[in-house]
């Protein structure tokens, strides 16, 4: 089983080139999803998001997710990064990247991966507005 690149960090995810992390000479396809802080949530202007995690469990759940993804799709490489702490508007909070021989595997793996990560991994996001803040609940 190839090893997967997993990182939970307080640093900027922009330091990492997600496509390069999953580069493989045998791959014809690379799929990347990046989640960023957007400027509005529910019609309110957002100043920033603040993420916290149950770090050891989040790492374990992301590793399990990698195993689950690889059971479903034949991939070359797989990388998942999540940022914690304050994430200003326009900066990335999460990315998932996968490479595969053909395109379908990488695309479906990334789609499934971000859905499962949002549903299962113990990470929480607080939305900070000009007039207060609220803990978000993933429901999309």
């Amino acid at each position: 089983m190839p090893s997967d690149w997993v990182l939970i960090t307080h640093d900027r995810l922009e330091s990492y080139n997600a496509s390069q992390l999953v580069y493989d000479e045998g791959a014809g396809a690379t799929s990347v999803f990046v989640g960023t802080t957007r400027d509005h949530y529910n019609g309110k202007k957002v100043l920033r998001l603040e993420y916290e995690a149950y770090v050891p469990m989040a790492e374990k759940e992301i590793r399990l997710l990698c195993v689950e993804i690889r059971k479903r799709w034949e991939l070359k490489k797989l990388a998942i990064g999540h940022r914690l702490g304050v994430v200003p508007v326009g900066e990335a909070s999460v990315f998932i990247a996968a490479s595969s021989v053909h395109r379908t595997e990488a695309i479906l793996a990334v789609h499934f991966g971000i859905d499962r990560l949002k549903a299962r991994v113990p990470i929480w996001k607080k939305e900070v507005y000009e007039d207060g803040s609220t803990w978000k609940q993933n429901a999309e």
């Binding site: 916290e52 995690a53 990560l117 113990p122 803990w135 978000k136």
Partner: protein, 87 residues
């Protein structure tokens, strides 16, 4: 007295704000179930009960139902997991 056991509970996100702390050690009777432990936390921090229908718990990094009848063991790390919102 009844022999006791030490359980560490971790609070995150809204549960952390309600408890006013991110972790504490509690002494429980041997054989206390996950459900009984969660009820005890609702008594200790009444506003936590607002999470009753949406929260999960974990025991030693494994998800568990807050209604589980499984017994906790000395040294277990239990986390209160409000609805997650990573990504």
């Amino acid at each position: 007295g009844i022999p006791g056991m030490q359980i560490q509970v971790l609070f995150f996100a809204s549960s952390r704000e309600i408890a006013g702390k991110d972790r504490e050690w509690l002494e429980l009777e041997e054989g206390t179930s996950i459900e009984a432990f969660v009820q005890l936390l609702f008594t200790r921090y009444p506003r936590l009960a607002a999470l009753r229908d949406s929260m999960m718990v974990s025991v030693n990094l494994e998800y568990a139902s807050p209604q589980s009848q499984e017994a906790l063991r000395h040294g277990d790390e239990v986390a209160i997991i409000p609805p997650v919102s990573g990504g």
